[in-house]
Symmetry: D2
Subunit: 340 residues, 4 copies
């Protein structure tokens, strides 16, 4: 059975997922595309042999759309996801699930009314082979009870439009989700340290930032976010437990010895770093959508990320420690958790 | 457009490719299966929603078979591949292309009569990201003109049925193809050194072996084949050029520090080592088959591998240096080479 | 010329330095030993062919003592060092220089009255080849202006006598000195995070701790101190600058592939981790003492370390950020700095 | 007790050992120097406060010379070493022990007449921490019974005076000794493969070369010698046993991430690669000489290296396999072996 997917948002990420659905993963085809820019929608639809629909609600309601992929800009996510849930159609939503925690909770409530999971949020790192193996090792007791996680998230540079809060919402949000998932624990407070700013940045931006989180279980997480590090896209993560540690591997790249040095190239493009994870994420979603469900990160994860991000941005402004206020995971999602 | 694939051979590798065609790659479905064991064919066909056909010729001739995947045992390959070529259908053949160089040449001749490439041979390492990046670096002059390649191919253990010639035909054949491709050079002679045999082997087997090859361009290649190395499946390759070297990376796996040691797990299963390469190989084939062609390693590569393997096995017996006698690559394949 | 060294303190570290002076480094011999335990002094003196003297002042005043090595317990350091300075004799003092910042300042003042450097403090990491190469790279601009340093200091276990303040005074003090030296910058504030305690500890101990420092130049340093990490003695340090990063290498140890894993042994004994650094430190001191001077870390570094440690321990207690109050480096030591 | 050392040969290596004896190791001083170039001898003697003697025999006979270090050019070694042995004085001889196997045997016989070991040969790799740990692991059964060793010895470049036989006598001789020692086994045959020559060489030189050795126990060793590799001084060694492998570590150097790459500098200067090994070698010799004996590699090792080198150079010329003809180790040296 082939899942007919409608894509909302024909920008870079929507186009990338459309390509993926059409030429990489098994069991899906893109049948409809919509975008606020009709020309852009038409151009993307043409690459997939899909039709263009005028808006998200028309697309969600279309008979030839079995499942919905939301890749529009963040503020538009909530409306589309809610409409898909109310239509009872599986929906994959790029992060963020919604731009406010309130809207995230509305999705959570709508999904619970529906009675089973329909929503998957695009935290693709859970599909990265390195992170998955780290989680397996942690879950099997390979490092003992986790006590600390040290992370770094470095980009070579960012455009002028990138501002200080995006270090949380667009960048560290991936570490926030990954650490919650690795530790099976919730983040309860946030603090942000502000090192001297690099000279390689636009004036308005605090870069780097060091984010400090505490979990309900008392583990401590530190995340260096440095988005103008110049040398490449570099993701580090080490979990420290009572008996050992486990570290995310760097991508496997040939070692070149030449010119007096031995080493590897560092990736410059974040899309390449997690390319296989994106593929696996969408393949997993297609397989779940084929049976009317969802896999991977759920709406509750989207809500928790929103709460933690809000607290982190507040902490950046205040300089103090801010409680995240994430509620307890409802039984509805706990029940689902085994399936993830 | 979906490519309808007929699978010849329902053993382990045929089943794996059937799963891959059905649930991993895009643009294909398995419509027919055949095997000398009808029950095994039926069981595999059922997993794919395909029908069972009584033999390879019936399958190749079927209207609902656009392209053929040959995964039967080696001695049966030549007949199926020749029939597919004569039917003008794209065919993917697991290595070996044929068990004799003469049969390989018959495929080469049939394909040339057809007038364009139809055959792809299953040397999946050319699709491994590490090897591909090595080749890109070599081709871009990153190590200067290649002079030597050092390889190792280690398996944790082999069954009793594995005999000394299989160290070449089943094991080193992958290095033979990979090195020819990495260097864009032909292997002209072979020699085999026989270290003291490991005690962890069946009596009849010379294990390890060290194979020494020379190319037309004067490069030297050494390949350690050690199929009872006990500790894991481990593939190494370092190319040494006039200005530097490049080494195949180990798989990226988390580093665990614990119990007084720091390190990674070593893969035990060869199928996992090149899992992504198998996926990419078949995806590439499906895309080429959709337009009636073939990609990747060609029939000439299958022929050359057969000639080189024969010389290597002869060298194991004689203890001396044996010329491979590989002919010059015909213009037909040279022309195609750019597309690979 | 051979430097005659008097050793104050015949415990483990005094004995180790006596062995080093007698059988490893060039240009020195131990002529006198003293200890509050006369038997222990006699035993050590016998290994070196030295005589026993009743107390530190007698040893410092002895004609056959050209230079003094202080390896007694911390509270006794200040008196011995001051006496040596007043006697105009070069003195090597194991850390801490003194147990109070006030006493450290007294040494600083005495040394300035003397008019040239006489005191070297035992921060041996400045002699470690890895740290030295890191500093060279930073000083040459290899990572751009430093912004952050991430450190970890892990011990397999500690005895029951080890208490929470020792995580600063005995353990992190090495990172505190190393980072000040690597960055050529002063630490101005300290904060301590307290993760959930490992279950592998005595009740009274907060382990692990995460120490956060800020420098006068605005760099941020984080130091994980984890002294019951179980798996080994492990020191990590990564400096992050505006254009790149540099990381302390792990000790070079053979990679073993066996039993399904590939990796190295982790050192269990801290003395082995910096064995070459201890040798080089003492050789450098002997060479400087031969000309009546001192090398390496100076009394001001001892004073600054004391101030920073006091602030860190206060921060552990209060949970807040504590200013270190380290004064500006006097011209006397700035002048000397080039020689280090 | 201080060992008074006489140094024969004031060239680069003699000067380096003189510096080492005077300012690095403990328990020695250089009291006399001789060289065929009297001015060079005088210059070196001045740095050490030593006197100049007119020739090797005068130096060996001098009362203020307890032990002799031979660092003259190779053809002069045998005479000096024999004279020292006949004088009953401990002698350290840089490799080669002698330029002919016959002369090596004369030393062996003279030493046996003396009745105990007096000669140490300068195979410093046995003192390298990485090699020593490899040997410990092998001896403890960490890789099972050894079957193969893969080595590479690369220099960035060599002067015009370096000719093809020096690839054995000056370069691979270190691997030859190291492998014999690592495996506790003797090399019985040699073969040399000649890859296409690098274009970065003088006309007369075969570079690279691949040397193939077999041991009495049936192990196989391959040594890539590539002395114009351009990128640095690089030494590799992997021993493969029945249950695992162990690899010589690269020197521990900081990893720099910058400019799109992550890696380390490669050493350019061979003297730095084994600097600590040279120090430890000479310290060990001084300690043994203080009691009238010798440590480390013995005269038999010097003889065996000479025989194996001769066979290797012959194999380079003939293209075939050449037996080394090394005799069985006499009981005299077997007895001593435990002490090494």
């Amino acid at each position: 059975m082939t899942v007919n997917v409608g894509v909302i948002g024909a920008g870079m990420i929507g186009a990338d997922h459309t390509r993926r659905l059409g030429t990489v993963v098994s069991g899906a085809r893109v049948t409809a595309v919509t975008d606020i820019d009709a020309d852009r929608a038409a151009a993307l639809a043409a690459t997939a042999g899909a039709r263009v629909l005028p808006g998200d609600l028309e697309l969600i309601g279309a008979d030839d759309v079995d499942a919905v992929l939301v890749a529009s800009w963040g503020p538009a996510h909530a409306r589309s996801v809610l409409a898909a849930v109310e239509a009872g159609k599986p929906v994959f939503c790029e992060k963020p699930l919604a731009t406010t925690a309130e809207d995230c909770l509305r999705v959570v409530e709508a999904e619970q009314r529906h009675g089973s999971r329909l929503v998957q949020v695009g935290f693709m790192r859970r599909y990265d082979a390195g992170y998955r193996e780290m989680k397996r090792i942690i879950d099997e007791g390979g490092i003992g009870a986790p006590l600390m996680v040290h992370c770094a998230h470095r980009n070579p540079s960012v455009p002028e439009s990138y501002h200080s809060a995006m270090a949380t919402h667009d960048t560290a949000v991936h570490e926030i989700d990954a650490v919650r998932w690795l530790l099976s624990d919730e983040i309860v407070s946030a603090q942000v340290l502000t090192p001297r700013r690099t000279s390689h940045r636009f004036e308005h931006l605090q870069d780097p930032q060091i984010m400090l989180f505490e979990t309900a279980g008392g583990a401590r997480i530190d995340v260096e976010v440095f988005v103008n590090c110049r040398y490449g896209y570099d993701i580090r993560c080490e979990a420290v437990g009572e008996t050992g540690t486990v570290s995310l591997p760097d991508p496997a790249r040939p070692v070149v010895r030449g010119g007096g040095r031995a080493g590897t190239a560092v990736l410059q493009d974040w899309k390449k770093r997690f390319a296989a994870a994106y593929d696996d994420e969408i393949q997993d979603w297609v397989a779940a959508a084929a049976t009317g469900g969802a896999a991977g990160p759920d709406a509750w994860d989207g809500y928790a990320a929103a709460m933690i991000c809000d607290a982190t941005v507040e902490a950046l402004g205040s300089g103090g420690v801010v409680a995240t206020g994430v509620k307890d995971r409802p039984a509805f999602y706990a029940r689902e958790e085994a399936g993830r």
